[in-house]
Amino acid sequence: MVDTHAHPPQGFIQKYVFSQDHKIIALQYLITAWIFLLIGFVFIMVMRWSLAFPGTPIPWIGRFLPADLAPNGVISGQFYNSLCAMHGTIMVFLGVVPLGVGAFGNYLLPLQIGAPDMAFPRLNMLSYWVYLAGGLLMLGSFILPGGAAQSGWTSYPPLAIINPGQTVWLFGMVLLITSSLLGAINFIVTTLNLRAPGMHLMRMPIFVWSELVAAFLLLLAFPPLEGAAIMQLMDRIAHTSFYVPKDLVVLGMMHKASGGGQPLLWQHLFWFLAHPEVYVLLLPPMGIVAEIIANNTRKPLHGYGTIVASMLSIGAMSFIVWAHHMFVSGMSATLSNFFLVTTMIISVPSVAILTCLIFSLMGGSIRFTTPMLFALAFLPMFGIGGLTGLPLGLTVTDIYLHDTYYVIGHFHYVVVTGSIIALMGGTYHWFPKWFGRRMNDALGRFHFWGTLICMNCVFFPMFILGLAGQNRRYYDPTAHLHDLPTQPLHVLSSVAAWLLFLVQLPFIYNFFHSIWRGEKSEENPWKATTLEWACPSPPPHGNFTETPLVWRGPYEYSPEGLKTDWLPQNADPRSLEAA
């Protein structure tokens, strides 16, 4: 193998397109994932029209939609289901996970442990391109014959077997899973093998821990979905019956299959992946929040050990809680009790992390920088998301709330006002690292307040809708009597969603404008202690000019006997004494 660090790549293609440098790959991930998030957002904005004003044509956009999907500009049930399935898939598999792991993890993990690059740079590049291929295939399914998948992102068979469009979705998933596996192996090996001298496991920043746990979850939870997807592909292509029971009659026609399969098997396998997946969505943003909070309170995190232990136990527990998504699915009532107990247990470490982050504020000297605003907003928002998980995790109350808008509100509070808020904060925080320039602060603050208010107006009404009994995945809520009184809430939610989009425009402008025109930043603008700030911004090929030595833990803020209020991990105590 050639030592790639000795020879920086030459030429535009080598340097920026097929780059093996973790920083370039991370930025590719960053831009691609934000674009996918935007696409997923556009999908939901279209869907929200159907929810707020069912049966009326969509203004402007409606006339550009094909007549079979949206006759007279009115969204059909089939098209709504496609948008719904693709919204979920894109947001989870193409947006938040690649952003938290592929972009932030890829850029920061090697830097924070003092490594020159990832352990397997070529795999890293492959991981991005496979991800992009999977993403484009998913998007392309809209124009392929059969259209996009329309069985929800959960793809429950037998619906997913008889619906068109699903085959492309499954191929796309296989690609995305492959990409995640490559990334996960790379992350674990890098973290375990490439740490700088002195970087013991218990000196690693929380963000690195979160990525390590997330990588293990990706590594071990994705293959079951791959296996399940292979079986669903066989059901669709080779007409096997893994998930198809005997004697189905679909719209008056006999479904030709040998039968003998079990629809619940898919649900078990899918949620076996998808619950750990929730923590893949959540842990890296939590790590980002921990970094930003430690930096802006100017004091060490409260309970570093507690947070690490909690993350590890969340990771372990997340493999045995999956069936709390299936309490009313027809699975065993006895087994439900088991999953009820494990679900309540897994809430304990989550509460511990949140409490540690709040206690970290105590005694601090809090700087309300733009990234800190996002990190602070994460705490109450994730709190709401976590608390509303309680009635859903409890078997009895889940009978009523299962598959209602309450669920939608719950997980959007966790993933959107939690993870995405944190990822936005992370973007502001590490932007100077990536480009050597800062993003505009005034625009950033406007973006923050607009986003926070709009997001709450979008998602909070969903709890009320859910309590009133409104079901998810209806394209026309007014078809049901019990959903009529709450219809104004849908209008509120939709309007807020459209406003939320407008509020993102300054962010997009700010991001691209600042890359070239932003205010020049110092090397360590936030006066941070972790190793990523110990190299130039943006870091050169190979990151560190000399391998850093790590003398202490990650958050040595405000130590006694120093003039400055931060002591970087790599600051040599001998030279400090001399000074």
């Binding site: 619940l264 409260h302 050990g305 109450p380 009978i399 009523y400 009133a468």
Partner: protein, 261 residues
Amino acid sequence: MKSIYGWGLPVEASTYAKDVDFGIRLIHAAMFTIFILWAIFFVYLLVRYRRREGVPAKRDPEHHGIFSASLIPDLIVMLFEIALIFFYAIPVWSRIKGHAPDVPPANRIDVVAEQFAWNIHYPGADGKFGRTEMDKIHFSNPLGLDYSDPAAKDDIVLANELHLPTGRPTLIRLTSLDVIHSFWIPSFRIKQDIVPGMAIPLWVEPDRPGTYELSCAQLCGFAHSLMRATVIVQTPEDYAKWLKSAAPSVAAASTNTGQSW
């Protein structure tokens, strides 16, 4: 008629609705309390420890290991959850899902879901369901009832209309012809997925006569949101009267089961 639906939980119309609502109300009260206290503390911290010139941050006392003061609120949450599990969730769950009351054959109903309609099948006066066969399924005979079977003669088959009596439990056997549906009556606080290939029993005892709504709660295709039925809860006398009036008109009922969509 005044609407029984509003911005809050719908009217409680079954014997176990109160139990479910108790949990929902209790948890929400606890959630609000926790969140409000927590938010006050949070805002206090933000104000009290904002950055001020000349006031450096104060570090916590050094400590190692995985235990810290943050685990104290955790302990309280944990105790609350343990209480919920053992004094609420498990007992009520086993009452609703674990045991089904023993009912006479006359109190049994078959619900056969299909895209996108609810077929309700009553055994009729003899308490026996007629045989169904797949290849007899037809637009006019959505269940494929074999009318040569004597048990089928008095069977009542309705589309999108479910009659239930108050005052005694009814056992419903849920099956699906095609994909997964979910049997969901908000006012009864029941929801149960209907999985093709499985026959899932479900019991319910309505305690408030009136008209309610049965919806499908699991994505089942392009017209998922139009898949609904009317639930008519009657006193035992009215119900018996209705059964009588419905029974002789078997042939009429079975030809009038056009799908609503």
